[in-house]
């Protein structure tokens, strides 16, 4: 067998073994050592990251992509389900990125959760999540992908509801599960369609056979699945609610890895997606709507984690727009760069929150640049990368996406929404940095704040390096599959940058107005719309259960009895006959005028019939 594919499979199996070994060691009857989380789990993920560099180097050197089918699992005469692993460009690059980010987050979590009595269980859950995520990205068939898909959903539920004594946390965990379930309906429908029409769940067979079919229905199913998992508009409220979980959970699941699973699914299915204009247009419009709506919601939030959550949702909308532009590789590039700076933003927020004794409201932060200079600098670097500052990580993906959007013959409305959302990104990023790092502290100086702990600083430092150079590294080593448009008018080329700078200047102006004593509160209606998240959760979370309950009540109390007695049975006879009876009765009341009018009416009718 070819040496490269052997080495790739070996390294992936090694990665799985490295990740599984702490979990297997936790099954032993002896109690776990106190620093099990720090020594075993974090070290396992670190070594798994270094192991995953090997397939990456092999791929960069030789350009080989491998598909390994390693175990025939459930096979019938007509349908095969195997364990098969796909090492294409997407999984080879995503695995090291995910492992690097997870390594940093685990190191941070060992500080953040050090007072938690169940810290070992927390790390175990994070590890199981990571394994499910890697199963998802390396899957070569839909069944294996579904295993990973559900696995990350379940771990998300367990981790959001980590502090289960809190009612809001339980509500948020349930909300995440229910919204993901609605998305799963789409995925299962797509899987069923593919199984019945294409007779296989293996990706190669699906892509080859699907050329002759009209794929609109399964693709809409996949888009619904991505809407649920990646928090697109309509199924998005679970993502800001998921901030009830501890900050390491928000950093790992709800910014870098789990929420991109939906977009990753669409990227995997891009050979099926690229010929179907309907599906592409749906992606484009849905993504544009999502990115603008969530960016609007982020403008007036006051909880730092919620702002970053809405920022994640906005970037996911941007990734969906990219898929709608038929540029899956650009979407993947944005997934990788976004993982770095978003995880770093969450870690910086977590560090600040922990230093301020669980204070999450930016109205009670301030002046952190003097107290935690490194953390606030990394917050600024992350925000700059997010807004697409030239030559940081976000620039390579975001600018390329906006250029592709500008130069394509597509929906101008989607373009406008996306550009507006890009400027909003600059505004809320500046808002966070302004209220957190700048100015004077607005909190009580109760406990001394410092950055002396290396378990906090080193992860943030690593992710900062990633935020700065990841974009450059990935773009300089990967050949793009689609040629980017190289020549365009100057205005289109700098559109993203100009829109961001306009947003930045507007935000600076608004921030300076906040400080002056013009009026205490803003013009209320747009602020209310944004602050109350467009009233979407309030309306939907009440309307849909209410409709279901009314339906249930109608069925239970009225449908059976009322239908059989009044609509179909005895009373119906009376109801049907009564108008006829009353009309006939009214005619024969003995009034001459009635008889005369009837006579003339029938006379006229008979005349008409005779003449024609």
């Amino acid at each position: 067998m070819h040496l490269t594919s052997t080495m790739m499979t070996t390294s992936l199996i090694l990665i799985f073994l490295l990740l599984m070994s702490p979990i297997l060691s936790s099954f032993s009857p002896t109690p776990l050592p106190l620093n099990w989380a720090l020594t075993q789990v974090k070290t396992a993920v670190k070594w798994a990251f270094f192991t995953s560099i090997l397939p990456l180097c092999l791929f960069l050197n030789e350009g080989t992509e491998t598909i390994i089918t390693s175990w025939t699992w459930m096979n019938t005469h007509t349908f095969d389900i195997n364990i098969s692993l796909k090492f294409d460009i997407y999984s080879i690059i995503f695995t090291p990125v995910a492992l690097y980010v997870t390594w940093s987050i685990l190191e941070f979590a060992s500080w953040y959760m050090h007072a938690d009595p169940n810290m070992n269980r927390f790390f175990k859950y994070l590890l199981i999540f990571l394994i499910a995520m890697i199963i998802l990205v390396t899957a070569n068939n839909m069944f294996q992908l579904f295993i990973g898909w559900e696995g990350v959903g379940i771990m998300s539920f367990l981790l959001i509801g980590w502090w289960y004594g809190r009612a809001d946390a339980n509500t948020a965990a349930l909300q995440a599960v229910v919204y993901n379930r609605v998305g799963d309906i789409g995925l299962i429908f797509a899987m069923a369609w593919i199984a019945t029409s294409l007779n296989s769940w293996e990706m190669q067979q699906m892509f080859t056979l699907s050329k002759d079919f009209d794929l609109t229905y399964p693709l809409i199913g996949l888009i619904i699945a991505a809407t649920g998992k990646s928090a697109q508009f309509g199924l998005h409220p679970w993502l800001p609610s998921a901030m009830e979980g501890p900050t390491p959970v928000s950093a790992l699941l709800h910014s870098s890895t789990m929420v991109v699973a939906g977009i990753f699914l669409l990227i995997r299915m891009s050979p099926m997606l690229e010929n179907n204009q309907t599906a592409l247009t749906i992606c484009l419009c849905l993504g544009a709507l999502t990115t603008l709506f969530t960016a609007t919601c982020a403008l007036t939030q006051n909880d730092i984690k919620k702002i970053v959550a809405f920022s994640t949702s906005s970037q996911l909308g941007l990734m969906m727009v990219t898929i709608g532009l038929n540029q899956p590789q650009l979407a993947f590039l944005h997934i990788c760069t976004h993982a770095f700076f978003k995880a770093m933003l969450f870690l910086c927020s977590g560090s600040i929150i922990h230093s301020l004794n669980d204070e999450q409201d930016i109205r009670k932060m301030g002046g952190m640049h003097h107290l935690t200079p490194f953390t606030s600098s990394c917050l600024t670097i992350g925000s700059l990368a997010l807004t697409g500052t030239p030559f940081l990580a976000g620039f390579f993906s975001k600018d390329a996406i906006i250029e592709a959007l500008n130069t394509s013959y597509l929906n101008a409305w989607a373009l406008f929404l996306t550009l507006l959302a890009t400027s909003f990104t600059a505004i809320y990023s500046l808002r966070v940095v302004f209220f957190v790092s700048m100015g004077h502290p607005r909190f009580n100086p109760l406990s001394p704040i410092n950055e002396n702990n290396s378990t906090v600083i080193n992860p943030i430092k690593r992710l900062a390096w990633g935020s700065i150079i990841a974009g450059l590294l990935i773009t300089s080593n990967i050949t793009p599959l689609k040629t980017p448009v190289m020549s365009m008018p100057f205005l289109l080329k700098v559109a993203a940058l100009m829109v961001t700078i306009i947003g930045l200047l507007t935000a600076l102006e608004l921030a300076s107005l906040t400080n002056k004593q013009y009026k205490p509160m803003p013009n209320l209606s747009p602020h209310h719309f944004s602050n109350m998240l467009g009233f979407f959760p309030m309306v939907i979370h009440r309307l849909i259960p209410k409709l279901n309950l009314i339906l249930g009540q109608t069925i239970a109390s009225q449908t059976v009895d009322q239908t059989w007695l009044e609509k179909m049975g005895p009373k119906a006879t009376a109801t049907l006959n009564l108008p006829l009876i009353t009309t006939t009765n009214n005619i024969q009341q003995g009034m001459i005028k009635t008889y005369l009018s009837l006579f003339f009416f029938t006379f006229g009718l008979a005349l008409l019939l005779l003449l024609y």
Binding site: Q301, D361, K364, G439, N531
Partner: protein, 175 residues
């Protein structure tokens, strides 16, 4: 004596405090907040010597309506207050003390001093339980207790009623 009805003074002061809190949510910077807080205080102080209760109640009503229209949709809530971000966060670690009885003997053997003392305390609790119940039954009026406060021990050598629940209560902040 407190009753279910609020006095006018209580209502005005509640309106003042919640107006200040919502003003603090709107005016983020402290100097600007202090400016508007002083203006608000002046508005309240202007009418504080009003003797006509009808007029005062109408002003209070107008004030409440003004508060309703100008309130902040996401007022600042302290993290440990109801609705805050870390409210009830550590409830899951507040395990009741009877769980200690269900520990495995090998686990109990790790803390022999504590568990031997615990046996003595449990014996003491069994002895004093009847007396606690008797005291509570004697002191509670027929319609039911007036408040949640427990009475102290009345007799010499007695323990206060329901002392075990108090002594073994979980810490406010377990971690």
């Amino acid at each position: 004596m407190a009753s279910a009805y609020l006095t006018h003074q209580q209502k005005v002061l509640r309106l003042y405090k919640k107006s200040l809190r919502h003003l603090e949510s709107w005016c983020i910077f402290r100097d600007k907040y202090r400016f508007y807080a002083c203006l608000l205080r002046a508005r309240f102080d202007e009418n504080k010597t009003e003797k006509d209760m009808v007029k005062a109640t109408m002003m209070l009503k107008a004030g409440e309506e003004e508060f309703w229209t100008n309130q902040h949709p996401q007022p600042y809530i302290f993290p440990d207050s109801p609705g805050g971000t870390s409210y009830e966060r550590y409830e899951c670690y507040k395990v009741p003390e009877w769980v200690l009885d269900h520990w495995h003997p090998s686990e109990k053997a790790m803390y022999p001093d504590y568990f031997s003392k615990r046996e003595q305390w449990k014996k003491l609790r069994n002895q004093s339980w009847e007396k606690e119940v008797a005291q509570l039954e004697a002191e509670t009026p027929a319609v039911g207790p007036k408040s949640e406060a427990l009475p102290p021990a009345r007799k010499e050598g007695d323990l206060p009623p329901l002392w075990w629940q108090f002594v073994t209560r979980p810490r406010e902040r377990p971690t």
